[in-house]
Amino acid sequence: MGQEFYLTGYFYAAVFLAVGAVVVLGGLIASLLLAPRGHKTREKLRAYESGEEPVGTAWVQFPVRFYIFALLFVVFDVEAIFLFAWATRFGQLGVVGLVEMAIFILVLVAGLVYAWRKGVLKWT
């Protein structure tokens, strides 16, 4: 179960990925060969908007509050990474580990409460 084991493990993961990629690309290529090519009608050349004439492009700027929200996500996702490491060694860390983690989580929850009070968690 040394280094060799890890390498063979990932080798089969790579084989799996390669065969999976063949399946997915095969599907695309098969449809490229089998699918008919229709004419370019006027309706096909514009975006679908339930029959309305589209106004402008859909590539627009987003409200800045999505950015704050994304930051909140990053904070909690990084916290999760820290928790992953802690969870595997929980048995050895014991009570000290639990208390430390409780303090860490409380700090983050304080951040969540702050964002909540500031109105980040409002979507209407």
């Binding site: 399946v23 997915v24 050349l45 975006a47 492009t57």
Partner: protein, 321 residues
């Protein structure tokens, strides 16, 4: 030194799992349509083949021979790439699931992390697909998907930490072994199980969490501009997602392949099939929540709940030891 018997067996597993997953996902389309019809007092597909079982084959033929239109106003390379990402990401997750003792493509010691990483990759598919279409319905679907899937991903990982605390490992085979020797983790981790069930169905964008598609508001949401095989990939990807999620629930909370009398693989299939049925029933019975309700419920209720669950689980484990 190469162990040929082992190599052949491993390669067999690779193909068996890939083909099996795709066949099950295709079969599920028929199963779901029949079951939904049953819940809604109608027949469902029953014309092609016995009980309509060949409907899937007919659909496949149709989807391959439909025009695969790439809109000239779209970002073409991203538009083509997006549906392949979801297929690849979901298929790859199947590599770490232990279907029976020794029947697993790769026994990674970070199996659970691998699953979480792959399920996050699915977000890219939906967001890029929605954005590259350059259509307003698609864009709204993509933005919704980004917000929804990011939010629910946070505590999807956290809800599984209780399981890791109990088993002391990310290795899925070890987690199943620990349950086979002791108790199914659904008992000590009932909260974790419920949160994972909800977060998981939000990740696979199934009704009641199908806001990125929401056909009554956004037509088809992120895949409104897709047609032919590329649409088919999003469609099969969703069913692969349900299969994967059911398999993960069975593995993490219901003892995986462990069970009396029946062979291990059969136990696994029975457990996974039960959750597939549950997801179809959920789709048949629940309405779609409003967008702000969905987000508020995730951040203000489920996230604190899964953190609390984690601390309580830790305290109980220490008290028992």
């Amino acid at each position: 030194m190469i162990d040929w018997a082992d190599t052949v067996w491993r390669l067999f597993t690779v193909f068996a799992v890939l083909i099996g997953a795709l066949l099950v996902a295709a079969g599920l389309i028929w199963v779901e349509r029949r079951l939904l019809a049953l819940f809604q007092n109608r027949y469902g597909p029953n014309v092609v083949g016995p009980f309509g079982t060949l409907q899937v084959v007919a659909d496949m033929v149709k989807i391959f021979t439909k025009e695969d239109w790439v809109p000239p106003f779209a970002d073409k390379s991203v538009f083509v790439l997006a549906p392949t990402i979801i297929m690849a990401a979901v298929l790859l997750s199947f590599a770490v699931i232990p279907f029976a003792p020794g029947f697993q493509v790769v026994n990674l010691n970070v199996g659970l992390l691998f699953f979480l990483a792959m399920s996050s990759m699915g977000v890219y598919s939906v967001v890029l697909g929605g954005w590259s279409s350059n259509s307003k319905y698609s864009l709204l679907g993509g933005v919704r998907a980004a917000a929804q899937m990011l939010s629910y991903e946070v505590f999807m990982g956290l809800s599984l930490m209780g399981v890791v605390l109990l088993a002391g490992s990310f290795d899925l085979a070890t987690i199943v072994d620990a349950q086979a020797r002791g108790i199914w983790y659904v008992v000590p981790q009932i909260v974790g199980f419920v949160v994972f069930l909800i977060a998981g169905s939000a990740e696979t964008r199934r009704l009641p969490f199908d806001l990125p598609e929401a056909e009554s508001e956004l037509v088809a949401g992120f895949h409104a501009e897709y047609s032919g095989m590329k649409f088919g990939m999003f469609y099969v990807g969703e069913y692969l997602g349900i299969t994967l999620l059911s398999a993960m629930i069975a593995t993490l909370f219901f003892g995986g392949w462990s069970g009396p009398l029946l062979p291990p693989f059969l136990w696994f299939v029975v457990k996974a099939a039960f959750f597939v049925g549950l997801f179809i029933l959920l789709r048949g019975s629940l309405p779609r929540p409003r967008y702000d309700q969905l987000m508020a419920w995730g951040w203000k209720f489920l996230l604190p709940l899964s953190l609390l669950n984690l601390l309580v689980t830790g305290a109980v484990i220490l008290a028992m030891a």
